[in-house]
């Protein structure tokens, strides 16, 4: 693999770990979704960097576009869930979900 690929791998791993730390430490539901987005950015960067290093950039771009479309679907569903949770519990705190009965 080329040295450029290692540079991209370094930043991609840093993004994924930043997102994971955010997921572990935050309590606001919107912040948790932002952390998931940051992990997604790391994955996208690594996909395209590998395509770049392997000279198959077109396939990598097709995969990235697929991922972005799925990401929008995920965010729309998660936002709808968050708004409904807010209507039920009047809070965005993840700990308030533990009090739900049912």
């Amino acid at each position: 693999m080329t040295n450029t690929w290692y540079l991209y791998l370094f930043f991609a791993v840093a993004l994924v770990v930043a997102g994971l730390l955010g997921l572990l430490g935050r309590r606001n539901l919107i912040k948790l979704l932002i952390a998931i987005e940051v992990i997604g950015k790391g994955i996208t960067l690594l996909l395209l960097a590998t395509g770049y290093a392997k000279a198959s950039l077109l396939t990598a771009q097709a995969l990235v576009i697929t991922y972005i479309v799925i990401e929008v679907s995920l965010v729309a569903t998660a936002m709808a869930l968050i708004i409904n949770i807010y209507r039920e519990s009047k809070s965005l705190d993840i700990r308030s979900l533990a009090k739900l009965k049912g």
Binding site: G25, N28, I34, V38, T44, L57, A62, I68, E71, K90
Partner: protein, 160 residues
């Protein structure tokens, strides 16, 4: 290469800011800036289609969705984050970045480069003709997302 590295550093900084900032609106805007920088990195790598999607959809549409949700849930903004996490996150991240740099430096040249496949045709051929089954799955995911949002915002019946 220097500009590319600077863009990547800026992107990671804005992504970390998006997680660290207390105000959710500022977090969403920091995430949009990170997406914008990632889109520029894609353009510079020679991937214009991925760059256009990253800037228009992720930096544009998803940010609008975030801001809409923040506006709809404005009163629930005061979530008390744990103080321990506020201290631990930057320290753990900096420690990890140092380990990450050392590991990557040690790995250089050790991962064997497998032969890459040769690509023929245009981007359109690869996107539409090479991935027919994927596209069916993608359409199913979009429909599932639409139905999920419709189901969540459905008006409740009186007898519920």
């Amino acid at each position: 290469m220097v500009l590319q590295t600077a863009l990547l550093i800026g992107m990671v900084l804005f992504a970390v800011l998006a997680i660290l900032l207390k105000d959710v609106l500022r977090s969403a805007i920091a995430l949009a800036v990170a997406s914008l920088l990632l889109g520029i990195v894609f353009f510079r790598m020679g991937a214009p289609y991925a760059g256009v999607f990253e800037i228009s959809v992720v930096a544009g549409l998803i940010t609008v969705l975030f801001i809409l949700t923040i506006a709809l849930t404005r009163k629930g903004d005061e979530v008390r984050e744990s103080r321990l996490a506020n201290w631990v996150f930057p320290l753990a991240f900096v420690a990890f970045v140092i380990i990450d740099a050392l590991v990557m430096k040690g790995l250089i040249g050790k991962i064997p480069a497998l032969a890459g496949g040769t690509e023929t045709g245009t981007f359109g051929d690869i996107l539409w003709k090479g991935r027919t089954l994927d596209l069916v799955g993608q359409i199913a995911v979009i429909l599932a997302g639409v139905f999920a949002v419709l189901a969540l915002f459905r008006k409740r019946d009186n007898h519920d």
